[in-house]
């Protein structure tokens, strides 16, 4: 894969840069676990059983764990491709330096996306182990949980990069939060969509996090149906569009 050679070099650069900040990297493991412990187990005691993806009743912690995993994959991807990406792009000249070498704008976009989905995969793999230890996994389909988290990472990394290339200042990042926080709260992460009025259910279903949560939950419970591949396809498409936009915009921004 000659096309991915340049991307690999950027991943290598990020590994080297993060070596000095391993604790920042490590904190990504802790965050979803803390959510699982506090909300899944703490709040779960108060909630009782709720309907799972196949319609059967499940404990709250069983319900919420795949949602946490999907959200962790999203957060990992977003951090590296919005905030960190913006700093490298506008202030540190990291990409200007790269473009003075044989690397091309596409290598940058592909490299940053690869890096953040690798990071997301590491977090979700660790989270999956925690879920196994807590007895929250019920199906062999769960071996696909990590690959699915990679797809979630891909979708959000692509979208994050693409969107960030249009940002002019830090205030634009308020828009990122404005999009992410409601998505985190309402995308079926914490409670089933059946709680919502019909029209709002459709809004939620259009969000990428919902697609990711639905995919992960189906795998964890082994409740796959015809919508499962559609969720995956949605995530792949979003990631591809994002990478394409990002590499074009990078070419415009960095090679005026």
């Amino acid at each position: 894969m000659i096309a991915m050679g340049g991307a690999r070099l950027l991943v290598e650069r990020n590994v080297r840069a993060y070596r000095r900040q391993w604790f920042v990297f490590a904190s990504g493991f802790a965050e979803p676990l803390l959510y699982l412990l506090s909300i899944g187990i703490g709040v779960g005691e108060l909630v009782g059983r709720i309907p799972g993806p196949g319609g059967e009743l499940v404990t709250y912690r069983e319900f919420v764990a795949p949602g946490m995993l999907a959200a962790a994959a999203m957060n990992g991807a977003i951090l590296d491709t919005t905030f960190n990406f913006f700093v490298k792009l506008k202030y540190q000249g990291v990409y200007d330096a790269m473009l003075a070498t044989p690397l091309r704008p596409f290598d940058i976009a592909a490299g940053e996306v690869s890096w953040s989905l690798l990071r997301g995969a590491a977090y979700s793999a660790a989270f999956l182990v925690a879920m196994l230890l807590f007895g929250l996994v019920h199906s062999w389909w769960a071996v696909l949980v990590v690959p699915a988290a990679v797809l979630i990472g891909f979708a959000f990394a692509g979208a994050g990069l693409g969107a960030t290339t249009y940002m002019r200042s830090w205030t634009d990042f308020d828009l990122v939060s404005a999009a992410l926080v409601p998505m985190f709260l309402f995308s079926g992460t914490f409670f089933p969509l059946s709680r919502y009025p019909g029209w709002f259910e459709w809004v939620v279903k259009a969000t990428p996090l919902y697609q990711g949560v639905a995919l992960e939950r189906a795998l964890v419970f082994g409740a796959l149906d015809w919508t499962t591949p559609l969720h995956a396809a949605y995530l792949i498409a979003l990631g591809l569009v994002g990478v394409r936009i990002a590499s074009r915009r990078l070419a415009t921004l960095l090679t005026a």
Binding site: R13, A100, A256
Partner: protein, 309 residues
Amino acid sequence: MLESLVDATGLTKRFGSFTAVSGIDFHVQPGEAFGMLGPNGAGKSSTMRMIGCVSPVTEGHLRILGMDPAVDGPAIRARIGSVPQEDTLDTEMSVWDNMVTYGRYFGISHALIRERADELLRFFQLIDRRDDKVDPLSGGMKRRLTVARALINQPEMVLLDEPTTGLDPQARHLLWERLYQLKRSGVTLVLTTHYMDEAEQLCDRLVIMDRGRIVAEGSPRELIDRHATREVVELRFASTEEQERSVPLLEPGSPRVESLTDRVLVYTSDGEAALGLLAEHALQPTSVLVRRSSLEDVFLLLTGRQLEE
């Protein structure tokens, strides 16, 4: 005959409707140090970025190492070194990791990078700082690191956009000396500057740029001989009135007299003779300096403006 490393004809760069580089022609030969001298906004960086294949050519013909930057950008960049006007060091990393990371962008093996990075950091007197982060380094060290990094791929040609702007005199001299050694080892240098002394020190041949155009070309000595006179007399007067009175007196004896706000410049083959004219009319400048003419004078004569505002 050796092929030129840079071949530019009618080279033009526009940003929207604004023309930054306006149809310039120049050629860089292997082994030479070629300079672009000009004030801020002359179009030097825009030209350098086109040569460095990081900025597309708007119009005209450009070949680097015989290749077309629009088609072979990565292949060209693999064989040149680039020191942009603003440092683009990786501030999250140490000096050493900067060298390694940059070398890896070229796909060079770790073993070869280690060898070259060690040698380059020694050459640029940075080896003692190899494990330090980049941010606390002095401006001169950062600049030297940027140059060292640009040499990691053993380029045939190095582009240096204002290599010493903002550095203190010692740091400048150290860098000049290293660049001179580099040139002697056969590396072609293309550099921009707005310092006359830098152009005189480093360049075999240079173009003077102003407002996107080349206004003169030659070796520093040729440019001075062709466009300036042998000597320049700088005169300052106690009052504007005295200055105004002296200008017409000086004009007959010299090819050109420039009256600036704070002084008068007399371009002449014989400074002493010019001073004699003033003495005849009992005009006494408060200060007199007779010197050899420099590129600064060439620039002033060609454009009617001073280089450094």
